[in-house]
Amino acid sequence: MSLHAELTVDRGARFTLNLGLTAESGETIGLLGPNGAGKSTALRALAGLLALSSGRIELDGQVLDDAAADEFVPPERRPAGVVFQDYLLFPHLSALDNVAFGLRARGMDRRSARQRAQTWLRRVGIGDHARSRPRALSGGQAQRVALARALVTDPRLLLLDEPLAALDASTRIEVRSELRHHLADYPGTTVLVTHDPLDAMVLADRLLVLEGGHVVQQGTPTEVAHHPRSDYVAQLVGVNLYRGTSRGTTVDLTTGGTLTTATRSDGDVLVAFGPTAVSLHRTQPDSSARNTWPVQVHSLEGHGTITRVQLTGHPDVLADITPAAVTDLDLEPGTPLWAELKATEIRTYPA
């Protein structure tokens, strides 16, 4: 069970998407990049909404698209479920009938389709809204309906196009956490398109960073974040992310170490902050910052205007500093330093 894709799509003279993609069942691949990088084009090609200019797509041994052999399986015959960016729930159908649509299209009778759709609505937590029209649903509810609609047909390939982008900040945290659990349960291959590094790092097992239609780096989220190979990637994927258990404003991290946060929370949490939020000092700083801890330089990667420093300690941390600061601090692997982080820079999410 696996996805093998060589995607080449010519979009006139200005843009060509060129992307190789391999994923195992159960794996979630994150396509990360800014607008115009070709993420959505890749997703549309996988869904069959766009034919490849060259290359091929093979899912579990079945060829879905092969430009050279002139084979093309249209979208309605691909075992793929898609969650679109603004969900595209059919406005004239209830939530239930939206979810049942794919089953009905595959010939299931109305009663069975609705029963199964209802089961899925309950599974995504909105069983009570089965009769609601999409315009009566909140953004979070609509996202859940869209997910149920994509998953109800048991697709072997799940395609998520910016699944959280349309949500407001608080809903987003909640839905992201739920989505992570659904993806963990999902046996097929997932391809997730996002421009948000945090979404990518929380949800994806492996990242492909796209720029101008090409993959500029790939690897696990941690690899990519720790060793960005360009300024572009460093800025895009710069995030420190930890799991931990929170009591009030204190979070014990699973990787060791403790952070103090400005907001209170309890239970399992995700903790995140950007590399620019971290400052480095030769001596223990005497400051109002709540978090200071000793670290040691592991590696340095300079990319034009920023140098990303990977530091070991409790916890390990990434810091972005200017090349001037690198010189001032006289950094080299093994240099002992103090890391400093303001509590207000830390974002906490329920895990």
Binding site: E76, R77, R78, G81, F90, H92, F101, G102, L159
Partner: protein, 285 residues
């Protein structure tokens, strides 16, 4: 009247928050309101003229005339049947126009409007040349099936459908081109064939456009005169619709013509108003 109230509101700031909703709804600038009123008057004053000139004392007596009822019934039946014909052929035609990427679609789209620009009488003659007893196609209908359209109610329906079809096609074409095609893509990814997508997604999405087009189409068919009398002829009970009856009454008895016109008008307003409540609003809201 709403407009006057609403326009007075900004001068009373204390009432502003309470009335802000009304003000937003009706607060149109005079530069729009005045031509709008002129336009409305232009459209309804001739109707008022008919109402004033109507022979009210003998109205009921004239209405009870079986010939009037026969013509009215024929008009309603023929216009409704023509609308059905237009829906059956016009909606798919609009779909092809809106969706096909073949070169030359612009020309086809222009051709669809031919019945709009053709004087209806000429349209009727054109229909005779094609579908008449000796017409290009009509001669075979006659020879093979012993069937001839002119001077039959079916001929009335054909003439009305010919003239009214562009109203439906243009309306549905516009709705289709304005509709978000990504819904159709979503349906495809859910396993829906193109036909199922058309039926279950596209049609409901453009339903308001189809309804509006069907209403225009029906109204045009109901008032159709030139193509009908030329192609289908004029015979009471068979092909004499209300507009034909009105025209002939006008030759000898203008009062009768006014009564017939008012009846036609009243019935069409009743039908359209009741449809609007039941059919158009829920989708358009």
């Amino acid at each position: 009247m709403t407009t006057t109230q609403a326009r007075a509101t900004p001068a009373r700031p204390q009432a502003r928050s309470r009335r802000s909703r009304a003000r937003r709804a009706g607060g149109l600038p005079a530069v729009l309101v005045l031509p709008a009123l002129a336009g409305l008057a232009f459209l309804i004053v001739p109707l008022a003229g008919l109402i004033v000139a109507a022979p009210w004392p003998t109205l009921l007596e004239r209405l009870a005339d079986p010939a009037v009822l026969g013509a009215l019934r024929l008009s309603l039946v023929a216009a409704s049947a023509a609308t059905v014909v237009c829906l059956v052929c016009g909606v798919p035609l609009a779909w092809v126009l809106a969706r096909s990427e073949l070169p030359g679609m612009r020309v086809v789209r222009a051709l669809v409007t031919v019945p709009l620009v053709l004087p209806p009488v000429v349209g009727g003659v054109a229909l005779l040349l094609v579908l008449g007893r000796n017409g290009l196609i009509g001669q075979y209908l006659e020879a093979w099936f012993g069937f001839s359209l002119p001077f039959t109610t079916a001929g009335v329906i054909v003439a009305e459908a010919f003239v009214a079809m562009p109203f439906l096609v243009i309306s549905v074409d516009g709705a289709l081109r304005g509709a978000d095609r990504r819904y159709e893509e979503a349906a495809a990814t859910l396993g829906a064939s193109r036909w199922l997508t058309f039926r279950r997604v596209t049609l409901p999405l453009v339903a308001p456009g189809i309804a509006a087009g069907a209403v225009l189409c029906w109204a045009r068919a109901l008032g159709e005169f030139g193509a009908t009398i030329t192609f289908a002829g004029n015979f009471p009970g068979e092909t004499q619709t209300m507009p034909l009856a009105v025209y002939l009454a006008l030759q000898t008895d203008p009062d009768a013509a006014i009564v017939l016109s008012l009846v036609l008008f009243a019935v069409s307003v009743m039908v359209l108003a009741s449809l609007r409540d039941k059919w158009i609003s829920p989708n358009a809201a």
